[in-house]
Amino acid sequence: MSIVDLRNLSKSYGRKTVLRDINLSVQPGEFMVVFGLPVSGKSVLVRLITGLEKPDAGQIVLRGVDMTRAAPGDRNLGYVPQSFALYPHFSVYDNIAYPLAIARAPRDETREAVQSAARLLKIEQFLDRRPDQLSGGQKQRVAIARGLVKKSEIFVLDDPLVGLDFKLRERLIEDLKATQEQLKVTFIYTTSEAVEATQLASTLAMLDHGEIVEIGPPEELYARPARAETMRNVGFPQANFISGKLAQRDGGYWLSTPLFESALQQSANARVPLDQAVALPISVGVRPEHVVLGAAPANGANGAFEFEAKVLLREDLGGEEIVYLEAGGQQLATVLRSDDEQALDIHIDQTVTAHIHPERAVVYADGKYVGRAG
């Protein structure tokens, strides 16, 4: 049975609909990441779950009980807000203990809870300090610990790593994942960072313009995205998108793009049948790792799409390199490992040959999955 159940939730401000018919079931022990670009509605969703705002329609069911109209204090949720404030005149200990002090928890219980949260977030040695004696990262750890100190099985974290240093985020991602696993609790966590989302989530919900368009394990959404927005945004670097046209031809269907053309078969998993897709805007997604440098291997009828491209820029991530290309008026990114020999002799403005295997070209009509070009 799900521990958090959101049913047909909607929320508008004036004429602007921020959340539309949200349905989300969260299982006990799940690390549910609600992933979406800024202003996709993530923070409003958090405010509805925590009770800081009320939905216009729909239900919020916690632990099997309808809590849609319940006050925030009655929901028994741990909460880590996006922007945190620590009490400057309190010690780190008292800052973390604050939610328990309000709830008038016994002193022993409080001490144990504070120490355990501090241990998980690796700030045990700072409990006697005041916030101004801590680094930015340590302060964020205190804020997260304060959110986790509550005796609850459900925690809501609203983009807690946004704006933090790259390195700090790397560490906190590891520590948050370990914390959730050790506590064996349920996390509902929002972010707009793809790699943060795929590293943390056991289940990922893709929020796009106020709607949850897709839910699943992150690897599944990465490998088989049913929506163009999922393919574009779940993954770093972002997937390439090429505009295309779909037409009926010789009793079948024919896809054409500025880079390649191909026959298209009806797919069993299609969200839009081909006869309807022809009337819709067509886009073709290709992940950067599937834009391959070098000539296509010659292998007959189902061969790869080969094209010439100009190198715009090489961006060195250390372990990998992103090579930006321009081909047929389209901009494409590809990724190499820095230990690939290929990575050595590519330079800006050079013309290179690249290819894409047809089964790696994912066709969407009006953003919905139609099929693959191979």
């Binding site: 240093d165 790259f166 690897e219 993954g235 670097p237 790792e289 820029l313 991530l317 372990g319 990724v335």
Partner: protein
Amino acid sequence: MIDITVKNLSKKFGDFTALKDLNMTFPAGTVTCLLGPSGCGKTTLMRIIAGLEVPTTGEVYFGNDQVNRLSTRQRNIGMVFQYPVVYRGINVRQNIELPLTEDKTLSKAERDKRVDEVLDILEMRHAADADISELDNGTRQKVACAREVARRPRIILFDEPITNVDINSKLQLKRALKELFTRLKQTIVYVTHDQTEAMTLADQIALMNEGVIAQMSKPRELYDKPNDAFAGFFLGNPGMNFYEGIAVNGGKVTCPLFPMPIELAAAHAGERSVTLGIRPEHVRIVGAQTALAVPAKVTSRAVVVGGQYLVTLKVGDTESAFSIAAKAKTRAGADHVTVGSDVWVEFPIERVRVFGQSETQPQV
């Protein structure tokens, strides 16, 4: 073209020491990136070079000239800031030309030549007559860079010029900077906290930490051969795996990463213990036992950059508490590396960095 040298440079703000006795040279005609976490001193160093901040001790030289007493204006430097500084109401060409008109020795023909040169490099000839207010902030930043470059000051300082540009303009701005830097060979100091930006644009990176230069090297050298644990930690996503306090006996180390004792280079053979570091993408998961492989169990897997899997491993005696953890980055599509599976793992010796025993894993 002129180099910049700082000698015994320190800066204190009250009790806080921002820079600790720096001695370094920024080579003429090249791009030096000052890279490091917030609070490392990179911005303070740049401001001292610019003359916007007075050092507590030490000297700054442009070539052979000591410039400590010169004002920012007298130092003849160009500056590009986080937010584009452009003049409204005039077009792109006029924006770039404006500072050149102050130099009365330049003829109109010479001014046009300089403006055209940068417009060509930036592929912006067609936009020369565009009004500044019609441009997005990425293009405005390109204009701001072009103006400083065309003026040919002795040195140009860039203070995180890409950070606040719209995500859609970042690529074109990076490309523009790369082109300007490569073609014009000016002496450039570029401050950033973004390792990718530094690795992409720099001729050399001065990695800073807590007011000192941790290492100054060419980008790939800094990444592949970090001299200290901080460089191994700060660069890379994620940074290195570290193994601290590995005992050295008879010049060799024995640890769960290797199936046999490993001989250390002479430089470390005399230490009592060392810290070992290896980058996740260099940890090799192999299908079957090899002479270099040790057993491991896959404990988690997540898709990261470019479809690679970031995998965590329990290495060594995988059923006991004595096993050690390692992160590995597989290539895209390594679907056979599943959570819970037993695998063999190689830690290639040529990829393992050995740090002295005082080097511990940096904390954030």
